[in-house]
Symmetry: D3
Subunit: 61 residues, 6 copies
């Protein structure tokens, strides 16, 4: 019963989320025998103002 969190700056389209959810749960089933119905995947999309790399907010770069 894996819980997968995918956190990123910016946005994904609904189609991208759909495709990623399908592929990641397939990977976990195929590689680690985790049944898809027990896998929860959540997406957390952050504004670029709320994510920093190299000491700078992404929207400063």
């Amino acid at each position: 019963m894996p819980v997968v969190t995918i956190k990123l700056a910016g946005n994904l389209t609904r189609e991208q989320k759909k495709q990623i959810a399908a592929e990641v749960s397939d990977t976990l089933e195929r590689v680690a025998q985790k049944p898809k119905r027990a896998t929860y995947i959540t997406f957390e999309e952050l504004p670029r103002e709320d994510w920093a790399v190299g000491g700078q907010l992404l929207d400063e770069k």
Copy 2:
């Protein structure tokens, strides 16, 4: 000083959050002797588009 995160798809009403916060911090105090004033509880409500089970976004089901 527990930190409790309650993450779910969809929304809770303010009354539900209030009741859940009261009960969960009571449980931690009664069962594990964690003083209520030191317990932080946070709610994270995700759109159903951002949560997948069984390889499908909840709003596809």
Copy 3:
């Protein structure tokens, strides 16, 4: 399908975890109509060296 994370410094006994898991999933079912079978609860016990409050590690206090 809530995912609840309970993070704390130090350890809980197995009996405490059992009791907390039962009560918290009961609260979520009763207050927010979340079926128990869909609620995941995880415990994360941290050494006191890995938790700071007031700018000090807990084991310095």
Copy 4:
């Protein structure tokens, strides 16, 4: 620059982690144009005593 967290009860072998990391970062690159070098993936393996479903610890079931 996604950060992916894969949390599960029990253990994965090193080979399984290797395969999952390769596939998940490939998915994110192919579907969402996230360059692999910017994707961080972490695994968190929890003892079955620290994960509850349906109000019961997994090792009680």
Copy 5:
């Protein structure tokens, strides 16, 4: 390659985030030799309705 999450109730200004990101990544480089370019820092600002202390939502206090 540290991943730092700063979660708080209420809001920070863009200037505060900028300053905090700069200082925290500087701390990690200076104290722990983690190169700034590899440090990700994310901010998660929660409404006061979604954060409880002492069993009460912050906006009840």
Copy 6:
């Protein structure tokens, strides 16, 4: 009442944690007026086998 999580591959010494905790809570007090006594900081040190970048586990590189 910020909750700060610092997750990294490998280990920090106790002295490094102590210094980082002091500086980060000082930053949050000075820049964002968050009183130190309300700031929780946790460290999560992961084995290099449990962290992947660029699709590869860190210990493969």
